[in-house]
Symmetry: C2
Subunit: 458 residues, 2 copies
């Protein structure tokens, strides 16, 4: 069934519920596709449809809904079935959902859960957002160090249905500490009497529960892992972060970087989200940055205002103010982005060798760019506004050239500066680069203006 057919089928089933037909659909089609169609349905309808499924199937479908949808569907579900569904959720999803409930909601839920699930959700939900612990699932496969391959496969057959993944098996000692890891592959390919200790990878890569979640992602990407084990402060294993969650963390990470670069970096707290953040939060974060840029811009405008004398003589200078200082910002934006990109791909770090490389490259390119743009600007100006004095053209051309070069080099150094002061380089946002170049640009511009036209003021 392709996605169009799934969409049609699910819509029909929402209108005319048919439990058998729905169960068949769920068995054959990917849950993500079915969940997408349910997105547009009323929570009550979705809840009713879900409850026609066996509990395990409910959970598989439920986790594909967006957070807000999960909450709405749950609110439309009676307590008993809701608690059963929650009990069957993967531990990491369950902990996230728990954290989204109001304290009333949590108080009502906890008594309805089985003891094991209650302890599990309370433990996982306690990890702060942004830590590895907060994206950990406790549904992982374990064997003891003394087992053989045969024992292990037997153990897996018993416990596997509850495990998110058994592709990596974790070897635990009596104290719950991680001794090593074995890929399922190795258990399959070796003789039943082989000891697990001989096959396992000792000293495995792991993260601690209070490490940032992007450390887990970094390790998964760097070492091509399917999952990375997470240990607590006592070195006891509490769960794993799986590669699919790592991909989701990555995606949010990049969305954050984009937000920062565009000047909407939320100071403390999660990113601004168009749908989820309150008016006050969006306003507050944005007015902070715009206010900062305004104050910065005041320096620029006061400086320009102080040049009244020369402006009075050569009004036309005012016309070129914007394009020239803009060019510094545009070039700086380009070079900063190139450096940011290199850093994001791991090609560049905060070391003199890389900084030197960047400056050398940028100087050459910016000179060529500045010369080209300066010529373009002067030529276009001459032909569209004929009565322009030679000195003004010279001022415009030289300012363009200098602004481009200075802008380009400064822009390429800003990400390194950000790293040096310990901030995310993307926070040196496009608007900030532009504002800095504005100020630098007016100094350059009026510098040339006075040089060429000093006699006019004297």
């Amino acid at each position: 069934m392709n996605r169009e057919e799934i969409i049609v089928s699910v819509r029909m089933l929402l209108q005319n519920p048919d439990p058998d037909a729905f169960r068949r659909l769920v068995r054959e089609c990917p849950p993500a596709d079915i969940a997408e169609v349910l997105r547009d349905a009323a929570p009550q309808q979705v809840s009713a449809l879900l409850l026609t499924l066996p509990s395990r199937e409910q959970a598989r479908l439920f986790v594909e809904l967006l957070d807000a949808e999960q909450d709405a569907v749950l609110a439309a579900t009676p307590s008993g079935p809701a608690a059963t569904l929650i009990g069957d959720l993967p531990p990491d999803e369950r902990a996230d959902l728990y954290n989204r409930l109001s304290s009333d909601g949590r108080e009502r839920l906890i008594p309805l859960l089985a003891q094991a699930e209650r302890e599990d959700v309370l433990r996982l939900a306690a990890y702060p957002e942004g830590t590895a612990g907060s994206v950990t699932t406790s549904a992982y496969a374990t064997v003891s160090a003394g087992m053989t391959v045969g024992d292990s496969l037997q153990e897996l057959r018993t416990s596997a249905p509850d495990k998110e993944t058994i592709n990596v098996v974790y070897v635990i000692d009596g104290d719950g500490r991680l001794r090593g890891t074995i890929p399922l592959r190795e258990l399959v390919l070796n003789r039943a009497d082989t000891k697990v200790e001989e096959l396992m990878q000792t000293d495995p890569v792991l993260v601690r529960s209070n490490d940032p979640d992007d450390k887990a992602t970094e390790y998964i990407r760097r070492y091509n892992m399917l999952a990375v084990p997470v240990v607590d402060g006592d070195e006891r294993m509490i769960g794993i972060v799986t590669v699919d969650d790592a991909m989701d963390i990555d995606r949010e990470q990049d969305a954050t970087q984009l937000a920062r670069y565009g000047g909407t970096s939320a100071v403390g707290g999660p990113d601004l989200d168009l749908k989820d953040s309150s008016f006050l939060r969006i306003y507050g974060t944005r007015v902070f940055w715009l206010g900062l840029l305004t104050v910065f811009g005041l320096i620029t405008s006061n400086f320009v205002a102080a040049q009244e004398d020369i402006l009075a003589e050569v009004i036309i200078l005012a016309a070129f103010l914007a394009p020239i200082i803009d060019m510094g910002g545009n070039t700086g934006s380009q070079s900063a982005t190139l450096v940011l990109r290199s850093m994001a791909l791991g090609q560049m770090q905060l070391r003199w060798r890389d900084i030197g490389f960047v400056i050398r490259r940028e100087l050459g390119v910016a000179l060529a760019l500045g010369a080209s743009i300066a010529v373009l600007e002067v030529v276009l100006t001459y032909f569209t506004k004929g009565d322009i004095g030679g000195e003004v053209l010279a001022i415009v051309g030289l300012s363009m050239l200098t602004c481009t070069v200075v802008g380009g080099v400064l822009g390429s150094l800003l990400p390194f500066l950000a790293r040096k002061i310990g901030t995310d380089p993307a926070t040196l946002s496009a608007p900030l680069i532009t504002s800095i170049m504005d100020l630098v640009g007016v100094f350059i511009y009026f510098g040339f203006a006075y040089w060429f036209l000093a006699d006019l003021i004297a």
Copy 2:
């Protein structure tokens, strides 16, 4: 061994080669960590060190080097061992390496490969960059539809060492067509006499070899897959794209988006890369965008130049030009980024419902922002530059307010416009938004100026 210890050990081994010690190190430590230290060594040293390892281990370490390093090390290796190494590479890495060789290099290599490897590399290397085929590996595990679980496990034991992953097993019919998929987990958990046909997932999610590579990534993320099968034009399976490669594609994708947003979108061809792209390519791409922005800016400056009369009367107006038109660009940058972020996270699409939502939200926030910033600017101006006329303050305040609102709303609509005309929304870059707002801003500014000061010119 932690990373510092690995660094020290490898450095010592580079100075004083000790094949046994190196082999022990390679067995115990993640290849990615060892490769990182080799990064700073001369290609000849790395080559010599690699050749002390068994061929399979060489390949595992070799693939962790960056592309440029791989090429350098290969060039420093004699043909025989080089060909053996290449023969042992994972098929997707081998195809990439082949595509990086000069035509001379390829001619020298091909005769040295075994036939199976020769055919494989020629087939995979033929897929254009950016397609699913170009990131496909042909080392996947297959079984026939008629097999039992027991047969399958036997088959895997024989062929597994050459397979990149056996966590998903592909069920192929006599014509090489994909009939279904089975997770290794299912083979382990079921009885040996169960037929594979009963367990397999039919109608599996797959991509075609000429689909874009990010489609493979999208499916892997959406359906939480470990690998997605790739078929050719005849529906025959040619290989798989694995989740670790999907993470790398994602990472490059986001770097591309950042590059576009910063105004360095490469028109056709791969992204600009600070290290790899030639001077001419970097210059050419950047001068195209800067030139475009210059021409656009010319419209703005010509308009301002035409306002000579009013500027002559009220020089001070020139001082505020920059901060006011900047504010439109800054606000637009913010709102565009928020929309871009939502689109990237799949929360928003090109439909009236989402556009309406965005406009309603942005109008409110931008009004609040505009009012706040306008008050801030007027107050700061009054207190830092005392002798300002009331009309000028009114012009500045109202322009600030209007520019912010217009900028914010326009900025939030631009990503939708980009989607509508079929271009990547991030290409509506920060510099472009700024330039558009410059022009809009000067119209607004001088509009208010004439309104308040018309009598001065009359």
